[in-house]
Amino acid sequence: MATTSKQYKAIGEDLWKSRTDKINSELFSLTYGALVVQLIQDYEDYAVVNKQLEKMGYNIGTRLIEDFLARSSLGRCSDFREVGEVAAKVGFKSFLNITPTVTHSGVPPPSARPTSTVQQSGVPGSSFILTLDENPLAEFVELPDEALEGGLWFSNVLCGVLRGALEMVQMQVQVEFLSDVLRGDESTEIRVTLLKYLEEEVPVGDD
């Protein structure tokens, strides 16, 4: 079941092509931009706006993962490393038509709990960084100075999507932006850190 990186790319490409309902990217960017600006006007606090964007993304992600798994018919990822690969090459590609580059770093914290009970292998604390070289959400966007000083992460909804989607597949992750070209940094980077696996969660249902 070990799928190589090339195969992931091909799967992602296929998924994107087979998707029949695409929308105009300008419309998408303008809609998202209007959304962010409205949130800023409503909340007036950039930290709160970041949180709201992340919450919205979380809601999207919890639903998106079903669509993704149904279309891609990929099985469980064997380890967290593979999660990163699949998310970047298949996930982002099939929904946004971009392929961020993945940089893995599996450095566990010193007090890592033994992971023998976990089915998947991947130490809590390992992480990967997605580097987006283009961001369709932020076309034409220039942040005003107040937003820069206030610490706005314009595309924070993506963090929420990743967190929501991964939580639905029993992984609790922390997702955050490291840098953003809109803020004048060199590149746009998102770091996804595995906190723990949610194996213990018993699905709510009648026994």
Binding site: E26, S29, L30, G33, A34, V36, V37, E139, F140, V141, E142, L143, P144, A147
Partner: protein, 180 residues
């Protein structure tokens, strides 16, 4: 040779202005990106009348109202703005007849020619220039138009409010250097 560019919204509020000196002149390029262009203050007219009668780029010793940046060239800021303002009537006349966007030179005032460009959204780009340079000016106007479109697409930009973006300013200057 200097050029003055004004971008005006459909309601004739100033959105952006730029003064560009052609690189051949020894003076450094100075810009007056004023966030609020002063309304045509009446007290300046006393000064402008003298300027009008003299009517050339000789250094004038008028006091310049606070708000407008003093330019290095000595041309009276208010004359420039008055010329631009006066040309608006002519532009509107021409607009009614012609449907093309680039209206070539619509007005002439002593040594200043006024060229105009009207976008489909009724934004007016006005350029005051001394020399004749139709093709360069047309290309410049098209460039400014594209840059303006990109600015409008920025969700943080409110329509018809003054453009303060540094990126826009830099790019307009670069385009001016290229074409003017």
């Amino acid at each position: 040779m200097s050029h003055h560019l004004f971008l005006l919204s459909p309601s004739d509020t100033p959105i952006y202005n730029l003064t560009h000196y052609s690189t051949k002149l020894p003076q450094p390029t100075s810009s007056s990106l004023s966030s609020n262009l002063p309304t045509w203050s009446t007290s300046a007219f006393a000064g402008t009348l003298t300027a009008l009668s003299g009517a050339s780029s000789a250094t004038q010793s008028h006091h310049v109202q606070g708000g407008a940046v003093r330019m290095g060239g000595g041309q009276d800021r208010h004359v420039i703005q008055m010329i631009a303002n006066a040309s608006l009537d002519v532009i509107e006349d021409v607009m009614r007849k012609e449907s093309a966007m680039y209206l070539k030179s619509v007005d002439k005032f002593n040594e200043w020619t006024v060229s105009a460009f009207v976008t489909p959204g009724n934004m007016k780009f006005i350029l005051l220039h001394e020399t004749k340079n139709d093709d360069g000016i047309r290309s410049f106007f098209h460039d400014v138009w594209e840059l303006y479109l990109k600015t409008m697409l920025n969700p943080f930009h409110t329509a018809h409010s003054p453009i303060r973006s540094i990126v826009f300013d830099t790019r307009v200057r670069a385009s001016a250097k290229k074409y003017l």
